[in-house]
């Protein structure tokens, strides 16, 4: 079976049940594909040969017992964790095999994948373009059919944005829906682990597997998400879809805007009611994010002090060093109230914006990224421009709400993703919208030519 690797997770499970192929054949097919593609795409930092299970790719910020986990950093280039992240334990219970650890921006800081100490992953739609970040390898692994599904992490858009730029489905769950135990921390109060998949129902299934309370993460005391295919496929007739005017202003590329507007029309055709909403504090979100983010990062990077992991602090990349400096400054005595405390207030306002908007709509829809994938090297020397790439995704992290990126079209042969945001812990509704959209369009059938 040559196109065995193009099957979605749900299809793969069905095919295995129907004995169309064996788990061994499945694993071999993926391994063969990786062996031919990875040299071109630079997806995997570590590969594992399996004969059993459904092969998944795990972002390298998620610790795996006895499998090297580097977080894309030279600092951890020799780190072999003695334990599994909770999500990994949960996947293993579902007979998932770990195919490999995927490349990412160092400690999940960046928007293009170029901050990895091990070289950037390439966009499978155009090898001269960035795949987005920071879950670059996971998004590309899914887009290039190098795994059945992947896990990524999203701190400011790191699942949704590369999913958008690579034309796959990416789900950032609500904060604390999925245990963070074993996720190498970037920004502890924003970090979420979520699936990157070939279809929306795959994302729902993986969320079912990995969500739920955990006695190793004090913030994770929530019910697990339960995948109910029938409920998710009920359609979106009468559903209220909010369009935030702040997400369609200056900075959004006209061609991308057009694709998003067409997608919104599609939702309307499917019976949704389109309502304009306002998220007035969006304009302050990026500024607040880039205070809170480096502040927590400066503290989370403290443990890599050169004593325990066999590597010196000089081995941190430029972006990590930049954020350590910014965060250390923002938390310094005399500055805390002006920076951290103020940014924390903005965070509350952003959260309240969403709460208010969600009193009149069920979901909020807009672009994931203001542009399609850009050239490798194009923005790497301009951190501010790079930070602006996250403008539509970071608010969900500030507010702790779930967000989904679904393929919704192309601009010059490069994929564009539609972002669907929902109320906290209401993944159900955004997945429902995603499935309705996916079923009404053919975008998921498009595959990069490799």
């Amino acid at each position: 079976m040559s196109d065995l690797t193009s099957l979605t997770l749900v299809q793969t499970i069905k095919a295995l049940q129907d004995k169309q192929f064996s788990e061994e054949e499945l694993n071999k097919a993926y391994l063969d594909r990786i062996n031919s593609l990875d040299p071109k795409l630079n997806i995997f930092l570590e590969k594992k040969k399996n004969t059993r299970g459904i092969p998944a790719a795990i972002k390298d910020v998620i610790v795996t017992k006895n499998i090297k986990t580097t977080a894309g950093s030279k600092i951890l280039s020799n780190f072999i964790p003695p334990y599994n992240a909770t999500v990994v334990e949960k996947l293993l219970e579902q007979d998932i095999s770990i195919l490999g650890k995927t490349n990412c921006d160092e400690f999940a800081m960046g928007s293009s994948g170029e901050n990895s100490a091990f070289g950037p992953t390439k966009n499978p739609w155009d090898l001269t373009k960035v795949p987005g970040g920071t879950s670059s390898g996971s998004a590309v692994a899914v887009a290039s059919d190098s795994c059945v599904f992947a896990l990524g992490s999203d701190t400011g858009g790191s699942i949704r944005q590369p999913a958008s730029l690579c034309g796959v489905v990416g789900l950032k769950p609500s904060y604390s829906r999925v245990s963070r135990y074993g996720l190498i921390a970037a920004v502890s109060s924003f970090d979420t682990i979520g699936p990157i998949t070939k279809s929306v129902d795959d994302a729902a299934l993986v969320l079912d597997w990995i969500s739920g309370s955990d006695n190793f993460d004090s913030n994770c005391k929530n019910e697990k998400f339960t995948f109910r295919p029938r409920g998710l496929e009920a359609g979106i007739k009468g559903l209220k879809v909010g369009i935030p005017k702040e997400y369609f202003g200056e900075g959004l590329e006209a061609s991308v805007k057009k694709v998003i507007e067409d997608a919104i029309k599609k939702l309307e055709q499917l019976g949704a009611e389109i309502v304009e909403v306002s998220l007035p504090h969006s304009q302050y979100a990026l500024a607040a994010y880039y205070i809170l983010n480096p502040s927590e990062i400066s503290s989370n990077m403290g443990r890599y002090d050169g004593i325990r992991f066999g590597s010196d602090r000089q081995d941190f990349g430029e972006e990590v060093k930049r954020r350590i400096m910014l965060g250390t400054f923002a938390l310094s005595s005399g500055y805390y109230d002006d920076y951290f405390a103020k940014a924390a207030k903005v965070r509350t306002l952003v959260k309240q914006d969403f709460e208010k908007a969600f009193t009149s709509v069920d979901v909020i829809v807009g672009p994931v990224s203001p542009t399609t994938a850009w050239n490798l090297g194009e923005k790497i020397d301009d951190p501010l421009t790079m930070y602006l790439q996250d403008i539509y995704t970071i608010s969900a992290n500030l507010a702790g709400i779930p967000g989904l990126s679904v393929p919704c079209g192309f601009v010059d042969s490069l994929p564009v993703g539609l972002q669907i945001l929902g109320k906290q812990f209401d993944e159900e509704t955004i997945l429902k919208v995603g499935i309705a959209f996916e079923q009404a369009t053919d975008w998921k059938k498009e595959k990069p030519k490799l």
């Binding site: 977080a71 109060s189 927590e296 002090d305």
Partner: protein, 442 residues
């Protein structure tokens, strides 16, 4: 009056105390490792959490929170309905995460007080929850790290600067130690490092209300005695410096026991900026009034209550305090009183007997037996006679002095006192031998 004393009269010391106490919970503060680390093979009580491995997260030990609240309640603190953990960021090899999870702006217990023996009321600013660090051992040019202690629950109790002399500090520290042991929340052993003291000390001209800005922090002092000595030394050093018109600095000083002096460990310029911010890995803590009330109701009897009860039995306060020094001795005394009732042995007789021994690992029946034979007939038991002899010597310091000056005939008066005390039941010859032995070796 000596010259130094005149100078001292112009100044008054201002002292505040920070006490760290390790809780004796079964597991550590934020993980499931055993907190009983003392004397264990290094790095055997560790896991990803207390080693600060990438990806690991803290998970709160509720028992430690309850113990901290109990300490707060015993110190008459208010228990904060809402409190939270913050990160105290600094680099040190014994701190695996690069920050300590502590409390800063929103501590668990606030605004309490403790009254000292001399009547001075010491205000408690806070009692908060935090985690201990690992332990460094220096061997030649190498430094070894043991993370068994990393993450052991630690409560920090901070006073207002209400102490004015070293004996108040000692009294306070001893009282705290006693409270921890009564509550059963810590062994509070200074030598093992279960309990650690830090004093903030400065002197100011009498009458001055504001705090001087040359506060010295005395750190890493592991006994009550050394702390008293260090404080005494600091008071003297600071007064002398001020008298000479020298400028004093805000700094951290340690105690050198060999040279009997304090020395600079860190100057203010080297002080850390801890960059505190709310710990994002942990939820806010909420203490309901019902829970706090339950903890309050569950508090065991505290030392001062036990002393009061013993006083009601007719004991002198000082005797009651000796018996209540440890919960175990106090409880043994009570059990003996109960047992003694049957044999017409009074609580006073038992108190007198126990005070001279001060141990609780005795057999109650034997104690009562000894007391009874003491009451009934001639007593020849050397141990018992020695107790009486000691009592008599303590009660007759003048005779002792006279004896020591060479007038040994005074021994007869002391024998008389022993006989009087025992209503004639003591073996006079043996009592004489024992008295002589005590006098000659004292």
């Amino acid at each position: 009056m000596e010259k130094g004393e005149t100078k001292a009269l112009k100044y008054e010391p201002v002292i505040g105390l920070e006490v760290h106490v390790e809780l004796n919970t079964k597991s550590k503060m934020f993980c499931r490792c055993s907190a009983d680390y003392f004397g264990k093979q290094p790095n055997t009580h560790t896991c990803p959490v207390c080693l600060g491995l990438p990806g690991a997260l803290p998970y709160i030990n509720e028992q430690a929170i309850d113990d901290c609240i109990k300490i707060g309640l015993a110190l008459n603190c208010q228990i904060s309905e809402k409190s939270l953990f913050e990160r105290k960021n600094y680099f040190y090899p014994d701190l695996p995460k690069g920050y300590q999870i502590s409390q800063y702006r929103w501590p668990l217990c606030v605004i309490g007080h403790l009254t000292l023996e001399d009547g001075q009321v010491i205000r408690i600013n806070r009692a908060h929850m935090e985690e201990d660090t690992g332990k460094l051992t220096h061997q030649g040019s190498e430094t070894l790290i043991d993370f068994n202690r990393s993450g052991v629950p630690l409560v920090e109790i901070v006073t207002e600067p209400d102490f004015t002399n070293s004996s108040q500090v000692k009294d306070y520290a001893k009282k705290l130690q006693q409270i921890f042991r009564y509550l059963g929340v810590s062994n509070a052993d200074m030598e093992r490092g279960d309990m650690r003291l830090e004093a903030n000390i400065s002197v100011r001209p009498k009458g001055q209300v504001e705090l001087p800005n040359h506060r010295v922090e005395l750190k890493n002092i592991n006994s009550f005695r050394f702390m008293v000595a260090a404080i005494e030394y600091e008071i003297k050093r600071q007064i002398e410096a001020l008298e000479k018109g020298e400028k004093l600095f805000q700094e951290t000083r340690g105690w050198n026991e060999d040279k009997k002096c304090t020395y600079v460990q860190r100057s203010k310029e080297d002080a850390h900026d801890y960059r505190y911010f709310p710990e994002p890995d942990l939820p806010e803590l909420f203490q309901g009034t019902k829970k706090v009330q339950q903890l309050k109701d569950s508090l065991p009897e505290l030392p001062w209550d036990m002393v009061e009860r013993f006083e009601k039995l007719g004991l002198k306060k000082s005797d009651a305090q000796i018996l209540a020094e440890s919960k175990e001795l106090g409880q043994f005394f009570e059990a003996a009183v109960e047992y003694g009732k049957e044999y017409d042995v009074t609580s006073l007789q038992i108190a007198n007997y126990l005070i001279n021994r001060r141990e609780s690992s005795m057999d109650i029946a034997e104690v009562i037996n000894n007391i009874m034979s003491r009451i009934k007939g001639v007593v020849t038991d050397a141990d018992v006679l020695e107790i009486w002899a000691k009592e008599v010597l303590t009660e007759n310091p003048k005779f002792v002095e006279t004896y020591k000056k060479g007038k040994t005939t005074v021994i007869m008066a002391l024998i008389g006192a022993v006989m009087k005390k025992t209503a004639g039941k003591a073996d006079a010859q043996k009592a004489k031998e024992i008295l002589e032995k005590l006098l000659n070796y004292a």
